[in-house]
Symmetry: C2
Subunit: 143 residues, 2 copies
DNA sequence: TCTTTTATATGATGAATATCATGTTTTACC
DNA sequence: GGTAAAACATGATATTCATCATATAAAAGA
């Protein structure tokens, strides 16, 4: 469904969303331990996210990663796009070049509605939305 | 979403569904060309499908691959299971071990409905159903 | 300005997936 | 039975993805 890297990215962003603030930076290794993401690999992902302004960071003593208010308004789809590229989620289920709404392939027709809706949900849902879900007990974050 | 191998498997099965019958066997290479699937790789997939009775085959001159009536009643989910294993499609979006309906993770809650519905569609839809869709013009098979 | 603490950049290794190549078995037909 | 046509089995290579390791740059504080 998603690459491992994207899952890690979302987990890390959610961890930051819950535990960090512009004044409360968090080290990569302090995300790595509770989330069970290998430290070196997580660092690489965080840097990629930082470069694309999905997360914020500060170097030097007292530095680390955190989310700005802008970061919290970012949608899940944007995170996935940065890591997996734009194609993986939105492409045709059978990878047919000419498949579209006009000319749907058999699978497209079958799952088109649900998949399109799924991607649309990802586009519409921000980091903040998920944090609210957690805060209000509608979902939980088992790290 | 699906592995490449699963996509190839479904394409090949659909090709057989439209073009083969127990008396009209088709060679791997004659599926390979119109579907743009590498011949040697396709052969391996067809053999895997044959071993699991997803497709039927006959060796020797005049032999080849085809679908029996039983094969046509098989669901897409079974095909995907044989190639990708049971886990890939149904597992939690964030690969969290403890995520379930009682304890949904944030992504689960977000896409749970649509994904569950999607998998259920795959479970319910047979090869025959897709062929009907093609025959009646509700979808097409761009090879 | 020196040292420490952090992120960043780059490259190396390992694992999984996709692809290719070659040999073996079965079956039909002469 | 011998021969050719096919599936079947097995292993080798390549490519992508996940993981690790090491060196560099920036920032803070002494």
């Amino acid at each position: 469904m998603l690459s491992n890297s994207s899952k890690y990215a979302i987990k890390a962003v959610l961890y930051l969303a819950v535990n960090s603030s512009p004044k409360q930076r968090i080290l990569a290794k302090d995300i790595s331990v509770p989330t069970n993401i290998p430290k070196a690999y997580l660092s690489k992902i965080l840097q990629e996210l930082s470069r694309h302004h999905i997360v914020s960071s500060l170097r030097g003593p007292g530095g680390g990663f955190y989310l700005s208010d802008e970061n919290r308004a970012i949608s899940l789809l944007e995170i996935i796009r940065v890591i997996d590229g734009g194609y993986r989620l939105t492409s045709c289920m059978l990878s047919l070049k000419d498949c579209d709404e006009e000319h749907p392939c058999p699978m497209h027709d079958l799952v088109g509605g649900t998949k399109a809706q799924f991607v649309e949900n990802l586009r519409r849902t921000t980091v903040n939305d998920l944090v609210e879900d957690i805060a209000e007990g509608r979902s939980f974050l088992p790290l």
